[in-house]
Symmetry: C2
Subunit: 444 residues, 2 copies
């Protein structure tokens, strides 16, 4: 195992470093911006997650002896570049949207300012983390919104990469999930974990009754019994016979959930188990959760669709050079000229403008000096790293609270599952228009 | 960081363990099977990847002191269970399809035989690894098939979780990709890595010419110059002015690739750079690659669609208890009774039957004694672990060679990108039918 994150990097970042060190441009002051050109089809907003993981990755981004030896042996870069890398420490500034914050097309989610050499190396690992975690958080937020007060449990570990599983649990928690099945996420991030039994546990025993008795003996009457291995009605009857009305919950993992949940609710009530909850877990996504709103369901376990971003497993964030010093040291905006991939040069600030009722109206993005906060406009870029020092960490609980607060600012239409435009428009202010013919018209 | 893989596990595996240890069923001989009920919509075959990573994860699956302390402090399991876990070593047998092998619905990709306690704990980490890696390998194989002799380069790290990125590079290599941009994959697995420069490198310099001169000075005339930052025709002219006809390649990352590639080819030829290759890299997938077959393109860089499984980021593998000992120690087949989630009890073997021309005809799955290989039927399950000892490792190059060999066995229709049935049917032999009313009709 390698504890450094320095090789979670694309080869070309190192060849660019070598060439720019040789010609001196490596040391030009540079601003990189991480943003999404658009939201996935049909999404009304995105959710930022991964910022704290990105800060961890930055602190572990070191070219130790073993790493340098690999780069030298393979001829990835030359000796002067290896020498430069062995002293690598990011010494610049990073500002960004907080974990849990909402983003829109063009939101400058991360602004990295340093030398070209220091900042270009971080491109891949920063994009990997934010593209993944924010994709999961964005899907998760729609699920918890539609689940209303009913808890959502993250249980998708088995359907994604084992490392991504741990990060997915965190991203889901930030977007309001109540718990995860993933034990490493529980250990690493302090997220509540939960789980009781799979079908294999019932099949292991000679009878379903044996399995239920065993589980209740081990975990207590408040446990959740999985009741769809053989005959559902029989299983519910057996379960309540064993526990009485104190049975915590039953879980349904297959079949037509709305009608089965109604049937099980009636049966439980008839047996006196009126407080026993019904948890459903069969291939749910935000659409299923919305459809189950009127059903007799008390909680949702969500797997595959959560960890795969519900159809959109990546955010489409890019990391672009938007300004760099010229020969005289003056910062100049830069942008690729491409009609199909719009980029806007210059170091950005961003505000979320809210109306008198506190409802978000527009995402304002500008170039130049950040205006002072006048109360209606919420400043979105927070200092994360200053002079190479991490200053902007938040806890998972802070990120989660922040998300639920800022999601409440959105117009109600943001929860719509139908296809449509972002919940609020992104507008550019200042003299951006003059520099980039593809920019939307500036705000009057 | 935690070097053990033991917590890449769902909470419920440990609660099942506790309950089964208490009632004694934990020690029942058990067979778990990992398989997919179906292929993703439209896919004609799947590709197994992750087997070697799974063997690594098994060897690192240890409950060390820190891990046990977490489980005890959090109350995940009781003290007798912690004591049992601290001695955990998998002592059973595992057979499986090799990395690079093709699979179909119902293929018993992995068969794990041990006590229930030992085998149930591995469910999540095994599924995570195989669901992820095989999803990427399955998408990658369609891309390399359609790319024909043109090399495909994996460059999707930035669009997936940073850990998944490394595994994706390996999975793509197994399915015939020539190289990766990911340096950690190059270090860990010895895969060739490659890369030259991004748009930021051109934007960093005062002129495009400065950038090209710098890159050629650093990397030689055989390098690949990115020519679509400003004006394509101008960039190609400048490039060849600097290098002469020895320019290695140009890269196009935007626009209408078939027509641009044709235009650039003509321009290069007119400038005498007839051997300069054209590499394209803009949001490619297997459909784009197929469409580019007649275009003047020499290689493909593939990112997002590869690492996200080209629309299918997970394989849908499940891990099911298919047999376990009864009170007398006799192994009994078991299966959940559910019309919408078919499972077939019993320990399986699997053969790929080929016709006289060596073309695969049918995936034969049976229960009971494995028949001896008669030459036409290729045995698919290889010993991976015997008595707890790993015996079935292969190298990435062996897996890649195996994939290209067994893919060649498939009927030509397997390469079709249109929707349709699996390239060959899965048929069940023996007395499976009698045990499961949902099983397909047995072969006559």
């Amino acid at each position: 195992m390698n504890d450094t994150t320095a090789l979670l990097t694309d080869h070309y970042e190192l060849t660019m470093l070598q060439a720019s060190l040789a010609d001196g441009t490596a040391h030009r002051r540079s601003v990189f911006e991480l943003f999404a050109r658009r939201l996935p089809d049909g999404r009304r907003y995105g959710v930022v997650a991964g910022i704290n993981r990105l800060l961890d990755a930055l602190e572990a981004f070191r070219f130790d002896e073993q790493t340098i030896a690999f780069l030298a042996d393979r001829g990835v870069v030359d000796q002067p570049t290896c020498d430069w890398l062995s002293d690598y420490r990011f010494s610049g500034d990073i500002a960004g949207y907080a974990d849990g914050e909402i983003f829109f097309p063009g939101s400058p989610v991360l602004v990295v300012e340093s030398t070209f050499a220091e900042a270009v190396l971080l491109e891949t690992v920063f994009l990997s983390i934010l593209n993944h975690d924010s994709a999961v958080a964005s899907a998760a937020s729609r699920m918890t919104w539609w689940a209303g007060g009913r808890p959502c449990i993250e249980m998708g570990s088995r359907r994604t990469h084992e490392g991504a599983a741990v990060s997915s649990a965190l991203a889901a928690y930030i977007s309001g999930f109540a718990a995860t099945s993933n034990l490493e996420a529980a250990r690493r991030y302090g997220i509540p974990s939960t789980g009781t039994a799979a079908h294999s546990f019932t099949l292991l025993h000679d009878t379903e009754r044996d399995a239920f008795v065993s589980q209740v003996d081990a975990l207590g009457k408040g446990t959740t019994l999985l009741v769809d291995t053989y005959d559902l009605t029989e299983a519910v009857r057996t379960a309540v016979e064993i526990t009485g009305p104190e049975l915590g919950a039953v879980r349904l993992d297959s079949g037509d959930l709305p009608s089965l949940a109604g049937q099980v609710r009636e049966q439980l009530d008839a047996l006196g188990a009126t407080k026993t909850r019904i948890i459903v877990t069969s291939d749910l996504d935000e659409y299923q959760i919305a459809a189950l709103a009127p059903a007799a369901v008390d909680g949702y376990g969500v797997g595959t669709s959560l960890v795969t971003g519900s159809g959109h497993p990546t955010c489409g964030f890019v990391y672009k050079l938007v300004a760099r010093a010229d020969r005289d040291g003056t910062l100049q905006p830069v942008a690729k000229k491409s009609p199909d991939k719009i980029s806007i040069g210059g170091r950005k600030y961003a505000l979320r403008r809210r109306n008198a009722e506190g409802v978000a109206e527009v995402e304002l993005v500008g170039v130049g000096e950040t205006p002072t906060d006048d109360g209606d406009d919420r400043l979105l870029l927070k200092p994360l790293v200053e002079g190479g020092k991490v200053v902007g960490r938040t806890t998972p609980d802070e990120a989660r609270a922040h998300h639920l607060t800022v999601r409440d600012e959105l117009p109600r239409s943001a929860s719509q599952l139908s296809r449509g435009e972002p919940a609020i428009p992104t507008e550019y202010i200042g003299d951006i228009q003059a520099r980039n013919p593809y920019a939307p018209r500036p705000r009057a």
